[in-house]
């Protein structure tokens, strides 16, 4: 009944969808297997994409030719560029999405992608021959063969849902859990563990009183995620979110449910994310706080369903209901679906290589929550990379790996496979040592060419990058040679009470002053505005960032340079660590387990000292 595919993707969440799209776009025949065709690309948690560090990842996915950016642009109901007051490396796009529109847009895009087939079934095990994955067996008994398999199981592997004292098997509320894969892989020598995450109640917008809340509007200008010209909503059409707060009454009410809480009764063994605590965790750990912020987020254009962000809980439904009704604006609140906690299996990601292929079984790839991450963006980018590499492997092509200085995606994968994680891993900008280089405004300049050469990013994308690069160079050349007279700019400095300039200066040099922006120059020196070619705003902005932050960018580039020696030293796969007698025992055990692929990776493994790396360096080449 089934042909042999190049790539089978198990699961159709954010990771699975990106994996299917990238492998197919590279030329693989792909079968995307999901337990439910109705829930492709579900936003299981909050209806939003992006945010700090995560927004950068979505931009990177887009620059590489993934779909998440386009889907978000097409389904957004609100857009904000976070951290605008900080330096450009911190600017982070974030969008509220229409949950249903997001999912249908994804499905449409996949349906329009050549070589993607779909099948609704549960994958029960992987077909493995000679330590190599070559297909899957489904719950309905089908044996489907392929050259590579990508598993993106999300929270479904042995998923258990907790609401108060209720304990239900399931991958999401009212969806069945998946079984079989963990047991098979553990049998083969894989290590697996449990993680936990949670979600807040969804409520009826008609039952809320917004006059008691603060309104949070979208930006006046919608930048969006995709570098391609995707049609987006107008700023005026945006939906607002609202902010309200818990209070001590709410906290007291919540506490009445603690004795029935699965967390405090010890019925949950999985580790939850520290940065996504449940409301009961927050009031427990930070008892001195009198209130906690709640974001009231609409789920879409055509629904009254509301997502109560910040109220993640696994307390009994009656306690959820009573406590919520004590929140200002929620007095008459009606719950649609209660919050819950979910536990699921993951495979510690130190069992993977840089391509997200497992070390034990070749041609088997993992992406998303199965690797211990949390977040749509984290999942999607792993899916993209696993899809690319599953294709590369199936087609006998060389692996595609991003470095830490090239992309947040590179940071994420390197962190996962080198350090592992013992809580759901989320991206922070502080995880990237080259934050100034990894900006949301230059993901295309960083990555599109790499992907284009691979055959994934389209000609159109590449052309756009070329134009952007050329225009930016032209602008920078103009700024470098254009002199500004003191009398032109001094009125501005007088106005802001800053030191005046005494002789004429190049525009590029003036731009280095902290209180001078491109728009001030254009405003006070019309001559300069006239000297510039007519270019879109994002290109002007790109030139400004590159000029204004040149010193910082160069500083980080020097650091990259310094580190690159270590990064370029490949440790042979068969390297025998036991022969390195002088190394510390902890380092030895870690090296043997993680098998770092470069000296750079070796140096980032926790518990490894610089001297261990030095000794390793001396021994290398054996």
């Amino acid at each position: 009944m089934f042909q042999e595919y190049d790539v089978i993707v198990v699961g159709a969440g954010h990771a699975g969808c990106e994996a299917a799209a990238s492998a197919a776009n590279l030329g693989s025949t792909v079968l995307l297997i999901t337990m439910n065709m109705q829930t492709i690309a579900q936003m299981s948690c909050n209806p939003a994409m992006g945010g700090i560090a995560k927004g950068q990842i979505v931009r990177e996915i887009d620059a590489l030719g993934g779909y998440s950016g386009i889907v978000t642009d097409k389904s957004m109901i609100q857009f904000r560029m976070l951290n605008r007051s900080k330096g450009p490396a911190m600017w982070s796009p974030r969008a509220q999405s229409d949950r249903m529109l997001f999912a249908t847009t994804w499905r449409e895009m996949l349906e329009q992608t050549e070589r993607v087939d779909f099948y609704q079934d549960m994958v029960q095990s992987i077909i493995i021959k000679n330590d190599k994955a070559c297909g899957v067996v489904t719950g309905m008994g089908h044996r489907i063969h392929s050259k590579s398999v990508v598993v993106t199981s999300g929270t479904f592997l042995n998923g258990v849902i907790h609401i108060g004292e209720k304990r239900l098997g399931g991958g999401r509320i009212s969806e069945k859990a998946a079984t079989g894969i963990t047991e098979q892989l553990v049998e083969l020598g894989f290590e697996s563990d449990r993680l936990k995450t949670g979600t807040p109640p969804r409520v009826d917008s008609r039952s809320l009183d917004y006059s008691k809340m603060e309104e949070q509007k979208g930006d006046d200008e919608i930048v969006g995620f995709s570098y391609l010209p995707v049609e987006k909503i107008k700023a005026s059409q945006q939906r607002s979110c609202h902010i309200t707060y818990t209070n001590s009454e709410v906290h007291e009410m919540l506490k009445t449910g603690f004795d029935r809480s699965p967390m405090y009764q010890g019925r949950i063994e999985g580790v939850g994310p520290r940065y996504c605590p449940s409301i009961e965790d927050k009031i427990n750990r930070f008892a001195e706080r009198e209130r906690h912020q709640l974001f009231v987020e609409p789920e879409g254009w055509n629904t009254v369903e509301i997502y109560v962000n910040g109220f993640s809980t696994s307390l009994p439904e009656d306690v959820q209901n009573q406590a919520l009704r004590m929140v200002p604006g929620f007095e008459k609140c009606k719950i649609f679906r209660p919050g819950y906690a979910i536990e699921y299996d993951f495979f510690p990601p130190t069992q993977l290589t840089y391509t997200l292929e497992t070390k034990l079984i070749s041609n088997l790839f993992f992406a998303g929550q199965i690797n211990g991450t949390t977040g749509y963006e984290e999942a999607a980018c792993q899916g993209l990379m696993a899809g690319i590499n599953a294709h590369q492997k199936a087609a006998n092509l060389s692996p595609f790996v991003l470095k830490r200085n090239e992309a947040y995606i590179g940071v994420l994968i390197d962190d996962l496979i080198s350090k592992g994680t013992d809580e759901p891993y989320r991206m922070f900008t502080s995880r990237a040592e080259y934050r100034t280089l990894l900006r949301q405004d230059n993901a295309d300049l960083r990555l599109t060419e790499l992907s284009y050469r691979l055959g994934l990013a389209s000609q159109e994308r590449m052309e756009m990058v070329k134009i952007k690069n050329d225009s930016v160079s032209t602008l920078k050349a103009i700024f470098a040679s254009f002199s500004i007279e003191p009398q032109e700019i001094n009125p501005y400095f007088q106005e802001i009470d800053s030191a005046l300039v005494t002789e004429k200066q190049k525009a590029a040099k003036l731009l280095l002053r902290p209180n001078v922006t491109l728009s001030t120059l254009l405003q006070y020196v019309p001559r300069l505005a006239n000297a510039l070619p007519d270019v879109p705003f994002d290109i002007l902005e790109q030139a400004e960032i590159q000029m204004k932050y040149e010193r910082y960018i160069e500083k980080e580039e020097e650091l990259v340079q310094r580190m690159s020696q270590l990064e370029n030293m490949i440790i042979p796969n068969a390297f025998d660590y036991d022969k390195v007698t002088a190394i510390s025992n902890e380092a030895l055990q870690k090296f043997k387990k993680i098998k770092p692929q470069t000296l750079g990776q070796a140096s980032r493994i926790s518990g490894v000292n610089p001297s261990d790396v030095q000794i390793l360096m001396v021994f290398m080449g054996r």
Binding site: N46, G51, I52, A53, L82, N83, S85, K86, G87, A89, M90, P273, R274, Y275, C276, P277, K282, R285, F286, R289, H292, Q293, F295, N309, G310, S312, F428, T429, S430, R431, E433, R435, T436, P514, Y549, Y552, K555, E556, Q561, R562, Q565, V580, T581, A582, I583, S606, P610, S611, Q614, I615, M617, V618, F619, G621, R622
Partner: protein, 455 residues
């Protein structure tokens, strides 16, 4: 394979032998030395040549040296290598090292020369293997030495500094990664106060480590003893000078006197403490260290001098127990021995390793010098380790101070905090070289423990 930076290290153990060799390797090795070597243009000299001349830092003459040039690839490491043979004094060597570091070199990590040699194909694996063991033992030794070196106060200051820097960086990261959270962010004033505190602490540390404290100040030797045990006389004899006021009246030395003594290239700072008598406390009186206690605690070696004619075996044991309990390194010297007499050995039968001397007659005083030297070189005060760890720490702290200054400037110029974070990252890195790596996890741990984060 080209490394960007140039490394330097002492190639010979200091203090031993008349000559010390300082070796540089890297792109700028010859250029850097040339800057300090005014008598010849080294850049124009052939490889494998020797050059005699003065090494100068600005106008100050550091030493008269012999410079050997090895141009790449015909050198130990395969890079440009310069070897400076200078005089064997650790003080001079340290000074030359510091000057070279200030001119754009960095201290080599353990085994780094060999590592470069190996990676440039200059050593085969069998050779490298042998070196690897050496590196490990060296690292271990210097780690121990560093720990020993950073006694009490220093390690406390360092851990405070570390915590404060983590806190500072976490506060900056908080407003970057968690700007959407409902938490109180640090204002610039608070950050400014923190950075000034950090700068102050770093300055204290820099001072204490500055120019290899131990080298500059010498190995501290506290001369301890009861009043009139002959401490000042011994000092004078050791120095061949009549510095301290000597008299037969007990308690003549009114204050501590410090003198510098050079024994075979190692500097010893001898501190003559007043043997103050204490009428009320007999125990302390018995070893005469009441006011000398501070000096003793700071000293690398305690030289306990006693009058063999008036000190009983029990008195001596009391003193020894005191030193042992404080974990001091000590040398026992019995003074006022008029001639070699077995009587004294019998008197202190249960105590070994006593040097019997007569300070006044200059009898056997040389043995004291030999002992001091042996203790300094072979003991825990390992000169090599001390210098190197100090130079490393000094270098790291210097860079930390520069980063902190840049952070302070960034704060006062109202630079965006993500850009300030760049300098903070540098600061964390440099402090991490002394206290162990500071990772992003350390910052996150701080943030999650102090602030309620997350929706």
């Amino acid at each position: 394979m080209g490394w960007e930076d140039t490394i330097v290290a002492l190639a010979t153990p200091p203090g031993i032998g008349a000559i010390g060799v300082i070796r540089l390797s890297g792109k700028n090795a010859i250029i850097i030395v040339n800057e300090l070597f005014p008598s010849k243009n080294l850049l124009q000299q052939a490889t494998h040549t020797l050059h005699v001349g003065f090494l100068k830092s600005n106008i100050e003459v550091l030493d008269e040296v012999v410079v050997a040039l090895y141009k790449n690839p015909k050198s130990y490491t395969g890079e440009d290598v310069v070897e400076i043979s200078c005089h064997g004094s650790p003080f001079i060597q340290e000074k030359i090292l510091q000057t070279i570091i200030q001119n754009g070199c960095r201290i080599a990590k353990p085994g780094e020369f060999t590592q470069r040699a190996f990676l440039n194909g200059k050593l085969d694996l069998t050779q490298a293997e042998a070196v690897a063991d050496l590196i490990a033992s060296n690292t271990e030794a210097s780690r121990n030495a560093a720990l020993q070196n950073i006694r009490g106060g220093f390690s406390n200051i360092l851990s405070v500094l570390r915590e404060e820097l983590i806190k500072f960086s976490a506060l900056i990261e908080l407003e970057l990664d968690f700007s959407e959270e409902d938490v109180a962010f640090a204002d610039r004033k608070q950050l400014n106060e923190l950075i000034q505190k950090l700068q102050g602490t770093t300055a204290i540390l820099l001072q204490s480590f500055s120019l290899g404290n131990v080298i500059k100040n010498g190995v501290q030797v506290a001369i301890i003893g009861k009043p009139n045990a002959g401490k000042s006389t011994l000092l004078n004899t050791l120095l061949n000078e009549n510095r301290a006021i000597v008299s037969e009246i007990a308690g003549t030395t009114r204050d501590t006197i410090e003198e510098v003594l050079n024994i075979d290239g190692i500097l010893f700072r001898l501190i003559d403490t007043a043997g103050i008598r204490n009428q009320t406390d007999d125990v302390i009186e018995s070893i005469g260290v009441q006011r000398s206690y501070d000096t003793m605690a700071k000293a690398d070696i305690v030289l306990y001098l006693f009058d063999v004619n008036t000190t009983s075996s029990e008195d001596l044991m009391t003193a020894i127990n005191e030193f042992e309990s404080k974990q001091l390194k000590y040398i026992l010297v019995g003074n006022k021995v008029d001639e070699e007499d077995n009587l004294f050995h019998k008197k202190y039968l249960n105590v070994s390793d006593i040097l019997f001397i007569s300070a006044k007659e200059n009898r056997a005083v040389n043995k004291v010098k030999q002992h001091l030297f042996a203790e300094a070189v072979q003991g825990n005060i390992n000169q090599e380790a001390t210098i190197i760890t100090n130079a490393r720490h000094y270098e790291a702290l210097q860079k930390l101070a520069v980063s902190l200054l840049e952070i302070e400037q960034g704060l006062s110029n109202n630079i965006a905090s993500d850009l300030i974070a760049l300098d903070i990252r540098q600061a964390l890195h440099f402090l991490g070289e002394i206290t162990g790596e500071i990772t992003n996890e350390d910052q996150l741990d701080y943030i999650f423990s102090k602030f309620c984060i997350g929706k």
